[in-house]
């Protein structure tokens, strides 16, 4: 019942290599910045693009197998897609839009219309069945698109940026609907998005896609604990350092990144030198000062405040030191220090607070 | 904005109506010698009159003769409504009478006659031997339209031969002039047609096969020419008409297959 993807795709001069597995019963979130290759992957799963190499298998059916010259046409696949721009047919009513996948497969008109109407009702837009897409609100259109993807009971449900087109109010309502729909959908569920919050909320497992490669997979928690790329770290909101690890004095080491050096605690179980070391530092472990601090912290960096984000009674302060740092302090501290954008500060943290991740 | 659009339209309308309703000015009473004459002539006269025109121009330097060839009925109508012709040469008296009663003509002379002839494509696919064959069922016959002189004459010929009804059933097209009939036959598109003998010129002769119509059945067309009343250059127009009736003009007409006027 699962989806297994292992492909290399070339579109224009963009190259995508992706391998992952999605089991039924879990929602896999394909998360990556724009240009990472998400739309290409959607296109491959839909059957609109053929991979240059590799294999796609869904529920025992081979959708693509380059080596064996197998390619299943889109119309033969059992995939329900909610497209990024919805792509509702403008010349059909909501009901006819939803009935389309059934009618296209030969289901008689009245049966298709009945099933469409029932599904629209279940998703809360039953009374808009005879409206044209142009007359629907953003949220209503999203529900219709969702119904259309579900109506033919596909084995793979694919949601491409399902919330991106909605305004904040509609997003909240639709989010719960999408989450419930995903939970009750019996087949394989795949969510494609660039929004980490959306991904974290709706997915059980994440597949991170950057510049055409899968850089990390795991549950949101697993990734939070051990992000493997700066993108992943940004996702989970930690400070991320990658570089060369060199032993220094007294049980410490230097992590030499392209933006600067930080001092970390020497890990006993690591070799003397390491080329690809990753260090992760929680924002809450960074202190900010208006004067150069004195103390045991081995890492002190000077910089200007370039951004302040308030979240409840906490604030995340971005400092343009080298390397860049994001510190989390209380609102009280902000006013006590009189921090505004442009303020000169010193950021400090202890060597032991940096988590070195195993390679 | 809509008002301005309406104003523009109204202004143009007024200008146009104002201009259109005035009469054509005749030549100045003080007699500025116009060096150009316009001749409307039946299309069967195209080749002959073009030659006559250049001969006339050669004999009268700094003079231009402009021709408008077409079916006589159409030309008469044009002269009556637009009035830009100095000379009218018709393929039948009917249309000259028409013009005479409408606009008026002077110096009317019969200047040539023309008889009709049957033509077929060079290989004569339908095997026409004589006028009676035109009654054969399934034949494709092309004539000029009713109202065009050669069309009326041809139908007269068919009546004379007693096959009017049978031949009429064979007509597949009513052309607007004799040249179009010749074109249809020369290209092999239809089986046969009836045109003027003068239409079978030197250049046309190799492209069609001609069959004589017996004298007792044939129609002889009389061509009148006249100066149109109110012509801009009536002196020159008169000179042209004289030339056409004179020995040079007549010789040219003979060379192009026309019969003398009497």
């Amino acid at each position: 019942m699962s989806l297994h993807v292992d492909v290399e795709v070339e579109v224009d001069r963009f190259r995508l290599e992706a391998e992952f597995l999605a089991e039924p019963g879990e929602t896999v979130g394909l998360l990556g910045p724009n240009g990472a290759g998400k739309s290409t992957l959607v296109s491959v799963l839909a059957g609109l693009t053929q991979p240059a190499e590799g294999r796609v298998e869904l529920d025992g059916s081979v959708l693509d197998d380059r080596a064996a010259h197998v390619h299943m046409n889109p119309e033969e696949r059992s995939v329900g897609i909610v497209f990024q721009d919805l792509l509702l047919f403008p010349h059909l009513t909501a009901q006819d839009n939803v009935a389309f996948p059934l009618r296209a497969r030969g289901v008689p008109a009245h049966e298709a219309t009945d099933r469409a109407r029932v599904l629209l009702g279940r998703l809360g837009v039953g009374e808009r069945a005879h409206a044209r897409p142009a007359e629907l609100s953003g949220g209503e259109a999203q529900r219709v698109a969702l119904a259309r993807a579900l109506v033919a009971e596909p084995r793979l449900l694919l949601l491409d940026e399902p919330l991106s087109a909605l305004d904040v109010r509609a997003r909240g309502r639709i989010k719960s609907l999408v989450r419930d729909t995903l939970r009750t959908f019996p087949g394989v569920r795949l969510l494609v998005t660039h929004d980490p919050v959306e991904a974290a909320m709706l997915s059980d497992r994440l597949v991170l896609l950057e510049e055409g490669r899968v850089t990390q997979t795991g549950t949101p928690d697993e990734i939070r604990r051990a992000p493997r790329t700066s993108f992943a770290a940004d996702l989970v909101g930690v400070n991320f350092f990658a570089g060369r690890l060199e032993r220094a004095d007294e049980g410490t080491a230097r992590l030499v990144t392209s933006a600067g050096e930080i001092v970390v605690a020497w890990p006993s179980d690591l070799p003397e030198r390491s080329e690809d070391a990753i260090g992760v530092l929680r924002p809450i472990d960074i202190s900010l000062h208006l004067q150069p601090p004195e103390g045991s912290a081995r890492n002190v960096f000077r910089g200007r405040v370039v951004g302040i984000e308030i979240a409840g009674d906490r604030a995340r302060v971005q400092v343009d030191s080298s390397p860049l740092l994001v510190a989390e302090i209380t609102l009280g501290s902000i006013s006590r220090l009189g921090l505004v954008e442009g303020t000169d500060v010193w950021a400090s943290f202890k060597a032991v607070e940096v988590d070195l991740l195993p390679p | 904005m809509k008002r301005l659009v309406a104003v523009g339209a109204a202004a143009l309308t007024l200008i146009a109506v104002g201009c259109g309703s005035s009469d054509e000015p005749t030549s100045a009473a003080g007699g500025n010698q116009e060096r150009e004459i316009t001749v409307f002539a039946a299309s069967s006269l195209t080749a002959a009159f073009t030659q006559i025109g250049s001969d006339f121009e050669a004999a009268n330097p700094r003079l231009t003769v402009t021709f408008n060839f077409g079916p006589s009925d159409g030309l008469a109508g044009q002269i009556e409504s637009e009035g830009v012709a100095d000379v009218f040469a018709s393929a039948s008296p009917t249309w000259m009478d028409d013009l005479a009663s409408a606009t008026g003509v002077t110096q009317r002379t019969d200047f040539a006659r023309n008889k009709l002839v049957i033509i077929t494509p060079p290989d004569d696919p339908a095997g026409i031997g004589s006028i009676d064959d035109l009654a054969d069922p399934g034949l494709q016959l092309v004539l000029a339209a009713v109202g065009v002189p050669v069309g009326d004459y041809a139908r007269q010929v068919l009546r004379n031969a007693g096959i009017a009804k049978a031949a009429a059933a064979n007509v597949v097209s009513n052309e607007r002039d004799d040249a179009s009939v010749v074109a249809k036959i020369a290209s092999g598109e239809a089986d046969t047609g009836i045109v003027y003998a003068s239409d079978v010129t030197e250049s046309v002769a190799p492209t069609v096969h001609s069959i004589e119509i017996p004298g007792d059945v044939n129609v002889i067309a009389t061509y009148p020419i006249a100066v149109v009343d109110g012509a801009k250059s009536s002196d020159l127009a008169r000179a042209f008409v004289r030339y056409v009736s004179g020995p040079d003009g007549q010789a040219t007409l003979r060379a192009f297959g026309f019969l003398p006027p009497t």
Binding site: A46, G47, L48, N73, P74, E75, E76, R77, V79, I81, F83, D85, L87, F89, P90, H91, F100, P101, R103, A104, R105, R132, A134, R148, A152 | M1, L4, V5, A6, V7, G8, A9, A10, A11, L12, T13, A16, P71, D73, G74, G77, S81, Q140, V142, A145, V146, G147, V148, V171, V172, S173, N174, E175, R176, K184, S187, G188, E189, A190
Partner: protein
């Protein structure tokens, strides 16, 4: 809208309206009833309507695949094909008629063998009138359809195929319905052009009442003998065209 432009637009309207007004003024209203009710007028009108409608429909059949190829496919010689398609529009219709004769006449490239082997002759029949009218009007359909196809969001067709629709189903249920406004616009234009076609018809099809004498040909013939009658017939032709265009514009050409 700036005043100058409005004024010029007014002249533009006058340019089109004046000839029509002239027709109306010159029509011999006292005789008009007899002329328009005459058998030849009615025959010519009926023939014109049949030929124009047939031309528009045949034109649509021919134009659609062509427009598709031009809008969607890449192939060598595409520029040449496009130029060929536009040619009948810029060619003088009589020249078009002569060209048709050389291809489909009794001694033509294709018409010759057809006649010699099967005894089939297209000239002097109503089919010739249809062919002549189609020849001059189908480029309008190709252009309208090509524009429509280009402006169509191809993603909608892709989406349809992911919903289980085979290619013909997509064409029938997605592409064509979305193209309906352009198809209608093209049909109206082609129909109107076909209705007014003269030069190619008289050259290729000939002029015979009941078979090939469409209304424009009848007008031309009338012009020789009875200009007043010709004007009445012209007014009839213009009125018919106007009625059809205005009616169809209202019903089918509204954009969604």
């Amino acid at each position: 809208m700036p005043a100058v432009l409005a004024l010029i637009a007014g002249f533009g309207v006058a340019l089109v309206a004046l000839p029509l007004i002239g027709l109306i003024i010159r029509t011999p209203w006292s005789r008009a009833g007899d002329i328009l009710g005459s058998a030849s007028a009615r025959t010519a009108l009926r023939l014109s309507l049949i030929v124009a409608t047939a031309s528009a429909l045949v034109g649509l059949l021919v134009a659609f695949p062509l427009a598709w190829a031009l809008a969607r496919s890449q192939f060598r010689g595409k520029a040449l094909v496009r130029a060929l398609v536009v040619l009948p529009l810029v060619m003088p219709p009589v020249v078009g008629g002569v060209a048709l004769l050389s291809a489909f006449g009794r001694r033509g490239l294709v018409g010759g063998p057809l006649y010699d082997v099967f005894g089939l002759q297209i000239t002097f029949t109503v089919w010739a009138a249809v062919l002549a009218s189609t020849f001059v009007s189908f480029p309008l359909l190709v252009l309208a359809l090509e524009v429509g196809l280009r402006s169509l969001d191809v993603r909608l067709e892709d989406a349809a195929s992911t919903m289980g629709a085979a290619r013909w189903y997509v064409l029938r249920r997605v592409t064509l319905p979305l193209l309906a406004p352009q198809i209608a616009a093209g049909l109206v234009l082609a129909w109107a052009r076909a209705l007014g076609e003269f030069g190619a018809t008289i050259t290729f099809a000939g002029n015979l009442p009941g078979r090939t004498q469409t209304l424009p040909l009848a007008v031309f013939e009338q012009l020789q003998t009875d200009p007043g009658g010709a004007i009445a017939l012209s007014l009839l032709l213009v009125t018919v065209s106007l009625v059809v265009i205005v009616t169809l514009r209202g019903r089918f050409l509204q954009t969604r």
